[in-house]
Amino acid sequence: MKINVNGESQNVTAATLAEALIELGFGDAKVATAVNEGFVPAGLRAGHVLNEGDRLEVLAPMQGG
């Protein structure tokens, strides 16, 4: 199915958010996730089912002031 990952359209076969992160190459990277503008804690990723057109944000530590 097609989902939007960090503003870009991507095809994934994963059914859940946890599976999608592995498929997208994040593996065990230190990231935080939001789906459709709502925070999804790491502990809930395995049970979070993705749907066609979902907007996924994957954020990581970055420089800041």
Partner: protein, 257 residues
């Protein structure tokens, strides 16, 4: 040193991690600054290069307290969601809460700020609100559960120094027991020293060091400045006066006319 949510800092300098020419220069600047706190943020990560992972590993090695921000957030919802994501990634309750209200000045939306601060403190966050020097807003932030206030000196990245000394002094006088940090607008060590001379508990800066020709040298200058300002504040400075007052004794002066 005053405590920030129960944490005593070794040095009253909080330093940002953005805009440095290279990671090595950033690390050098931190070493020279003796900063006790590093501000960081969250941005979109790519599954390919995973730039954030390398950055995070370097910041952890600095051995300083981490203060994640909600920079760039313009709404309460955005700021609150970002704060939750930051808490998970950085494993800290601390959040430098920014709700930006104006694009050109990056002036805080103080109405949204108070609302977001209330939501986050109720959820267990320890909020460091980036605010203006407005006394009434400060009072509302404290009522919302904030135990630290971070008024701006001048707009972020402007290097203008302390634009409203009277306002900053008024905040200090009214909230004697609240840890106060001048956040943003510092351009020179003299600005940082001035904030500390006013009795502020810390200074948060980034651009002044990162965009200096020699960031490490400027970081050291800032470290010396905050130390000087802090010593001066403790030493109880003299009151300024309008007329001259001779420092050399008048009594005993020879009559030579």
């Amino acid at each position: 040193m005053r405590q920030f949510y129960g944490v005593t800092l070794d040095n009253p300098l909080m330093l940002g991690t953005a805009l440095y020419p290279s990671p090595a220069i950033l690390a050098d600047a931190f070493a020279q600054s003796k900063a006790a706190v590093a501000t960081v943020s969250l941005r979109r990560e790519s599954g390919q290069d995973k730039a954030g992972q390398e950055f995070w590993s370097m910041i952890r090695d600095l051995g300083v307290a981490i203060l994640p921000n909600t920079a760039g957030c313009h709404t309460v919802k955005e700021a609150v969601t970002t704060a939750h994501m930051a808490r998970e990634v950085f494993d800290t309750k601390w959040i430098k809460l920014e709700v930006i209200g104006h694009t050109d000045t990056l002036q805080p939306d103080v109405f949204g700020l108070v609302e977001a601060a209330r939501i986050l403190t109720e959820d267990g966050f320890q909020v460091f609100p980036y605010t203006t020097e407005d006394l009434v807003v400060a009072d509302k932030l404290l009522n919302a559960g904030c135990e630290v206030l971070m008024p701006w000196g001048a707009p972020i990245g402007s290097g203008q120094g302390l634009n409203n000394i009277l306002g900053l002094r008024t905040l200090r006088a009214h909230f004697e027991d609240v840890p106060l940090v001048v956040d943003a607008g510092i351009g020179l060590p003299s600005h940082a020293a001035q904030a500390m001379e006013l009795g502020y508990d810390a200074v948060l800066l980034n651009t002044a060091v990162a965009k200096a020709g020699d960031p490490a040298q400027m970081a050291r200058a800032m470290a010396l400045a905050v130390e000087a300002g802090q010593l001066a504040a403790v030493a109880d400075p003299m009151e300024p006066r309008d007329m001259a007052a001779p420092s050399t004794p008048v009594i005993g002066k020879a009559f030579l006319e």
